[in-house]
């Protein structure tokens, strides 16, 4: 399996005086589904920025494949996208094609077909002409995922995709991420502050706690003993009808 992104003894942060994550060792292989979990303010954004090559490590190395630069299908947090712009969904999805279209040129018919296919893949083909700002939270998130798919990415990166969603929409979105991973054999990185969000879809999980990254296969990491030790509190991991459920108890004295 070829490594798409590889961190080796990397210190991540904003200069030597503000290192957020220490000694990060992480390999993301082609076809992986990695879940990154950590509480707010733990350094998820720092790790994400480094993953997206927007931030250089303070020390150590981060390698991005051996071939041409990686193509990211990045789905930002929905709240960071301005809804004031009067842009139809189709045009937003087409933005994913802009780099391929090139400067000065307009998107061609083939680009519009790819955009439409991406919208259909996430179930919003019928909303192509709707204004982005008129969509529901779940539909907006799907539009942003469609834009990410339109880039024909090497890696699909979803940043807190279920923030502010109801239970049904949240479930549907996690299912969509799993389907995209399985059917399209996409490498998926899902960032969330909720462990439950990634517990049933990611093959590997990276938990950020106390300035360090704990990475491993889901089966190894999601155990009652491991999570109780990591969070210094009582955490129970249960299997309910083949799905992983995580319940927290009292804090360890």
């Amino acid at each position: 399996m070829s490594a798409l992104i590889e961190f080796q003894n990397a210190q991540l942060g904003y200069g030597w005086r503000s290192i957020i994550l220490h000694d990060v060792n992480l390999t993301i292989n082609r076809g992986d589904f990695l879940g990154i979990v950590g509480p707010n303010g733990s350094g998820k954004t720092t790790l994400l920025k480094t993953l997206l090559a927007l931030l250089k490590p303070v020390s150590g190395t981060v390698r991005f494949g051996d071939g041409p630069p990686l193509r990211y299908g990045y789905v930002p947090q929905r709240d960071t996208v301005d809804t004031l712009f009067p842009i139809p969904v189709e045009e937003i999805v087409l933005m994913g094609r802009y780099k391929r279209v090139g400067l000065i040129k307009r998107p061609a018919k083939a680009d519009r077909e790819i955009a439409l296919r991406s919208m259909e893949q996430v179930g919003i083909g019928h909303l192509a002409r709707a204004s982005y700002r008129d969509l529901s939270g779940g539909q907006k998130q799907r539009a942003l995922i469609a834009r990410a798919l339109a880039t024909e990415p090497d890696v699909l990166v979803l940043d807190e995709p279920t923030n502010g969603m109801d239970l049904v929409s949240e479930h549907a979105l996690i299912e969509l991420a799993s389907t995209l991973h399985e059917k399209n054999r996409l490498t998926v990185i899902l960032v969330s502050h909720l462990l439950a969000n990634v517990a049933n879809c990611a093959q590997r999980i990276a938990i950020i706690a106390n300035g360090a990254l704990d990475v491993g296969p889901r089966e190894e990491l999601l155990t009652t003993e491991h999570l109780s030790r990591l969070y210094a509190m009582e955490v129970k991991v249960m299997d309910i009808d083949g799905r992983c459920a995580i319940i927290t108890g009292s804090k360890h004295p």
């Binding site: 997206l52 990045y74 009067p86 933005m95 802009y98 700002r133």
Partner: protein, 297 residues
């Protein structure tokens, strides 16, 4: 009104109309981005900083230094100096302001709007102060604030047309990049765009337009064009292309109506009349939208 229409055939009124229409079309187009990017006061601050640059051209110690320099470039008469050096100074100050405002780190430690407000207030105060040191300061101050469209020269119109053409070409060529970087700068970066450079280029086109326009139309009218027609258009349409088209159209209609009323027997000052017409169009659009909303309900 017949008298107003007959005055429209006069050369100086036609020149005023041409100049105001050029400023209206450019500002109303860029204003859509200004409103959507939520940087309305950057537009105002850029106009004030540019006006400060223009005012400094009349500040005796600075003028004493610039006069021989301007003469070397052919501006040997006071009229030539007054119609060239303030524009160059406005342009230079605009460049400094653009470099400052387009910094993405701006506002990390202080609220961004506080910094913009500070620049606006500082530039306005300093402009008034600088102009007060000049014998004809109050006249220049009035021109800087309200513009002197009726006193526009053919050279001003040519300059406006050239600057307008450059701004329009840049905006048309890189329209999709400007939309992407304005709408979602973070995703633009992950796609390989250097968002900060695109932002700088966009701010430059805005700055060039403002620096050239305030010489003709004054800060108040330029600011009004940047805000009122785009807001009216955004209220009516939900498609970017239509918003841009309507904004330009509303800017042009307000200009035409404002010039016509201004030269009618009412004899009103031109820039404020155009602003009033823009407000009237905004109120009409708002009323029409409210009525349409009530009918739907």
């Amino acid at each position: 009104m017949n008298q107003a229409f007959s005055l429209l055939h006069q050369g100086f009124v036609q020149d005023a109309l041409k100049a105001a229409l050029l400023v209206a079309v450019l500002s109303s187009f860029l204003g859509v981005f200004v409103v959507l990017k939520r940087i309305v006061f950057v537009g105002a601050a850029l106009a004030e900083v540019s006006a400060l640059g223009a005012a400094l051209a009349f500040f005796p110690p600075v003028a004493g230094f610039l006069l021989p320099l301007a003469a070397r470039f052919g501006a040997t008469t006071p009229e030539a100096y007054e119609h060239s050096v303030p524009i160059v100074m406005a342009f230079l100050f605009m460049l400094l302001a653009v470099a400052f405002f387009s910094q993405q780190g701006l506002g990390r430690h202080l609220p961004r709007e506080a910094i913009i407000g500070g620049a606006f207030a500082g530039a306005s105060g300093l402009t008034a102060l600088v102009l007060s040191t000049n014998a004809s300061g109050s006249e220049h101050a009035a021109d800087a604030l309200n513009g002197n469209i009726l006193g526009v020269l053919p050279l001003d119109i040519t300059l406006l047309a050239i600057a307008g053409a450059v701004v329009a070409v840049v905006q048309i060529l890189f329209f999709k990049e400007f939309v992407l970087v304005s709408f979602d700068p973070e995703v633009a970066r992950t796609l390989g765009y250097r968002s900060s450079r695109w932002e700088l280029l966009w701010y430059l086109t805005l700055g060039v337009m403002i620096a050239i326009s305030i010489h003709v139309a004054g800060t108040v009218l330029v600011f009004a064009y940047l805000v009122l027609p785009p807001v009216t258009a955004l209220m009516i349409s939900r498609r970017m292309s239509m918003v841009l088209l309507l904004s330009v159209l509303f800017g042009a209609i307000a200009t035409f109506a404002g010039v016509l009323i201004s030269v009618s027997p009412a004899n009103l000052p031109m820039s404020p009349t155009i602003v009033a017409c823009s407000v009237a169009i905004l109120l009409l659009a708002w009323a029409a939208k409210s009525v349409a909303g009530l009918r739907k309900a």
